[in-house]
Amino acid sequence: MKILVCISHVPDTTAKINFTPDNKEFVSQGVTFIVNPYDEIALARAIELTDDGKGTVTTINVGDVSTEPTIRKTLAIGATDSIRVNAAPRDGYFVAKQIANIAKQNNYDIILCGRESSDHNGASIPSMIGELLGVASISSAKKLEVDGTTATLEREIEGGKEIVSTPFPFVAGASEGMAEPKIPNMRGIMSARTKPLTVVEPIEVPQLAKVISYDKPVARTSVKMIAADDAGKIWEMIREEKKVI
């Protein structure tokens, strides 16, 4: 079984997010980058599915050279090899096109993404890749079981879940529950240095969307404290002051 896992390089979950004074660029200085948490889940499941030794797990990232430590981490966790498409991601379509282009050349059985990146929050790339390859896509999957060349997945829906099945190949976005993220061990870290990380140049893709500026939510300025004994009166207070109930 050949699995491709798409890895997004994102700010650490505890990172404070800052932009340049004109609000046009994200300031990456002083920010630690990690493997997107959902992508760690996807990677862990891919490793589990190939732990009979009969499969390979390739990780792929679309990013400039600064993402290499993040990609190396996926090798340390247990990926077989990695590909970096040498381009800063412009928009989701650009990223999906690059990944689909690599996928078309390699006949992967399964392509796993995270259900959402924690920086762009698009939740769209797995579905875009599915469309580009003409295969099924499951945008948020909590379980993935494989039987021969058919997969059964549990996908999230509003207020419940759905059990779906699809033949190989397909694309899925991993959500919580699919696997527990794996932590690299010493042997993994050592071997990661010698595992192949191939750099390929991007293909041309028309630009359809572009982030032109950022903004930050206004912080709540003051909290109104209520004595514990008056807790029951809070609803009336919210109705009068905020009119949301």
């Binding site: 700010p11 979950t13 505890t14 997010i17 928009d91 989701g92 999906a96 924690s118 920086d119 762009h120 929050n121 698009g122 769209s124 579905s127 875009m128 599915g130 469309e131 580009l132 003409g134 295969v135 099924a136 896509s137 945008s139 948020s140 909590k142 999230e156 509003e158 207020g159 419940g160 759905e162 779906v164 699809t166 397909f170 959500s175 919580e176 529950g177 028309p206 359809l208 969307a209 982030v211 032109i212 500026s213 950022y214 903004d215 930050k216 939510p217 709540r220 909290v223 109104k224 404290m225 209520i226 514990a228 807790a231 809070i234 609803w235 009336e236 919210i238 905020k242 949301v244 109930i245």
Partner: protein, 325 residues
Amino acid sequence: MSVLVFVENVQGKFKKSTFEVVSFGFAVAQKLGTTVTALSIGDVSDDELQKLSKYGASKILNSKNEKLKVINVQPYASVIAEAAKAEATKVIVVPASFSGKGIAARVAVKLEAGLGENVIDIPDTSNGFVIKKGSYSGKAYSFVQISSDVKVVSMVPNSYKVVENTTTATIQSFEPQLNENDFKLTVKETIRATDKISLPDAELVVSAGRGMKGPENWGMIEELANILGAATACSKPVSDAGWRPHSEHVGQTGIAISPNLYVAIGISGAIQHLAGVSSSKVIVVVNKDPDAPFFKAADYGIVGDAFEVVPKMIEGAKAFKASQN
């Protein structure tokens, strides 16, 4: 030229979030000087479809087909793309539901259209077409210029109000060309907890964390939620420990929500938790530790033991509800 709105149904019925999307579509159409065409796929009665005219849909396309009875991302995207071409649509609006996100992405690829995902406001058309969306998991907003001729946007539930704009709508049947290759995925089973309010759509949410000590203490959280008509949610360690299902986990790595009211009980307010809930309109925090970071992100705070405070909130909520009726 009309704005095409995909209207998602749940077992033949439209939810509030559907009327939000139609209202949103109407606002966009007004900006562009055009009208709204709603596209329904699946099995929805004419009576139910007619409801859409109340929110501004002036034409309703009905794709009723045995093969399209349950929502399936791949064929649904094909039907929407086909309708968009037939209508010469420039803007397609899809709900950012679990299925809608996948559909929007696939439609965008089919039409090579720029995609504005998880949009939370009416696009700014004063200089091009700029959408506003959450980014960095609730820590920021991005403004995205969509430069393609055709644009697809997915709209986050609860981010735009239902607005009545009664029109007279005509219902037309829309027979799409179905492609066998679109049916690779088979839906085996749909499991829906019908008695529960779905978290992403909920206007009111009662959430609890590790301060509740154990799953056996969730009775009072559920009781409070029931009285208020709220959905229940939890922090990540709570779902990790199996006290509550993963589907209730909110935050950076869980569901991001923006209800009108978020009540957090025994949750410390870690940055990853706040990321997913800070766009709630009003936040109430109950915590026994006066230095809990969550108080800095709250509108109302109560310092106290949840086991004493929540019963008071329940009594208060009962009285409040009674006074409302």
